[in-house]
Amino acid sequence: MPESIRIDRLCKVYRSRDGTDVEALRDVFFTVKQGEFVSIVGQSGCGKSTLLKILAGLLPRTSGALSIEGQEVDGPRRDIGIVFQKPLLLEWRRVLDNVLLPVEIFQLDRQEYEAKALRLLRTAGLGEFLRKYPFELSGGMQQRVALCRALVAEPSLLLMDEPFGALDSLTRQKMGFELLRLWEEWKSTVLFVTHDIDEAVMLSDRVLVMSPRPGKILDTLEIDLPRPREIFVKDTAEFIRHSSRIRRRLWEEDGHE
């Protein structure tokens, strides 16, 4: 299968406020296949958000090579959708118009994409909230709108930075399965950043374990659990084996034996 992301010896050093150089990423390399769901797990400050921002063209890299869909990353592009931890909806736009923001920015055909937006919103269970303003929605609903917005222009790559981090654990679990449903339908590549080990194993085809200072990839796990995934997969020995291995890697890295 062709590659979606190729990262080769990526390094990022930035100057902190007190003038010292901080090494945020060191020799990060991995590839992601088209249509693959890959998670990056690590504690806060391990550079996973920095990595995502470099991929989104928001931060320059210090050295190394980076390409998406075979093209060098060098600024904004249409084939990426982004979801952050906060929904970041435009509070003056109704739900449908929020979802259509990328369509307007990319100057795509509104009619054609409005149909897509409606389909997405219905799939996400928001069919009855099209005319609502963000303040009228719950946190989980707002995040679903943000997800629809990220998907509406049919990106080949979806970048997600702890997208469910602000939600309670039950809503979070539910949102994970909804994401999987949308992903199975829309077939984009997903790079999903989280600090929740179970969430990463539950959702992904592959999990990359990252350690901080400087950020580097410690371990890669193929998650060969059957799809479509169900909640009870959490109770299987397979699942527990994967998550406990990740837990152990992070624990050891933290200086424990």
Binding site: K53, A56, G57, L58, G75, P76, R78, I80, I82, F84, K86, L88, L90, E91, W92, R93, R94, L101, P102, E104, I105, F106, Y133, P134, F135
Partner: protein, 256 residues
């Protein structure tokens, strides 16, 4: 608030003002306070009824000065703010000048306007403009830049166009800030117009208060103040109404 609570509030407010007026009336009569010192409400009401058309004329003069000064401040304030956030030359020249001016009693310039643009309505408009301008510029700048940095990143990942960022994000984001400023600025504009009339007016409510004062015609001064209150409240109400109509999406966190 539920319907019962709202009715209860209206009742309480009505009772409060009725009682205040009655106590005022009773005190003035009982203590035999002379009318030039502090007139009774009944007396003021008589003057209000009697001088209706004169008062209306002066009110319209002040209203016109206020609205023109405020409108000018609104247009210039928005343009200044947009210019300042987009051009570093303006950020380094116009912005510090505005900040400097803002920390200074602008009303002190009012006499100079008479020298520069005469004693007509223009100098009052200039006054109203000057005091209304600052809250609008300062708040508008805040509204255009004070947003979640991640929202800017989200948009920057899609487009680097400043045009897109301005029209789709910055401008709509600034509207609640602009309306907050307008609520202040419209009251400031009234002050500006009144002070202008104090200095060189032949018409307007400010002039009327001053000339009634010089004749010890306190009931007339009170009447002018009554119209001034009505006018200011009316202007404020228009701003609130415009905000409600234009920002149905704006939702303040309910006060704790």
């Amino acid at each position: 608030m539920n319907e019962g609570g709202r009715i209860g509030r209206v009742v309480r407010i009505t009772i409060f003002y009725t009682v205040t007026l009655l106590v005022w009336e009773a005190l003035v009569r009982f203590l035999q306070v002379p009318e030039w010192l502090f007139p009774a409400p009944s007396h003021i009401i008589d003057v209000i009824a009697d001088k209706n058309s004169v008062m209306l004329f002066h009110t319209l003069v002040t209203l016109q000065e206020t609205i023109l000064g405020f409108a000018l401040a609104l247009v210039m304030g928005i343009l200044f703010a947009i210019g300042i956030i987009h051009f570093s030359i303006l950020r380094d020249t116009l912005y510090p000048t505005l900040i400097m001016f803002n920390s200074f009693p602008k009303i002190a310039i009012a006499p100079l306007f008479i020298i520069w643009i005469g004693i007509g309505i223009e100098s009052k408009i200039a006054n109203a403009f000057l005091v209304a301008l600052f809250p609008i510029v300062i708040n508008m700048i805040m509204g255009l830049v004070d947003m979640d940095p991640e929202l800017l990143e989200l948009v920057r990942a899609m487009s680097r166009s400043r045009w897109v960022l301005f029209w789709k994000i910055r401008l709509p984001h600034s509207l609640p800030y602009l309306f907050a400023a307008c609520k202040m600025a419209v009251s400031f504009a009234v002050i500006g117009a009144i002070v202008g009339e104090f200095i060189s007016g032949r018409t307007g409510l400010g002039y009327l208060v001053l000339s009634a004062n010089s004749q010890f015609n306190t009931p007339l001064a009170f009447t002018a103040l009554f119209y001034l209150v009505l006018m200011s409240l009316g202007l404020y109400g228009v701003v609130i109404l415009a905000e409600k109509l234009m920002l149905p999406w704006y939702h303040r966190e309910p006060a704790a």
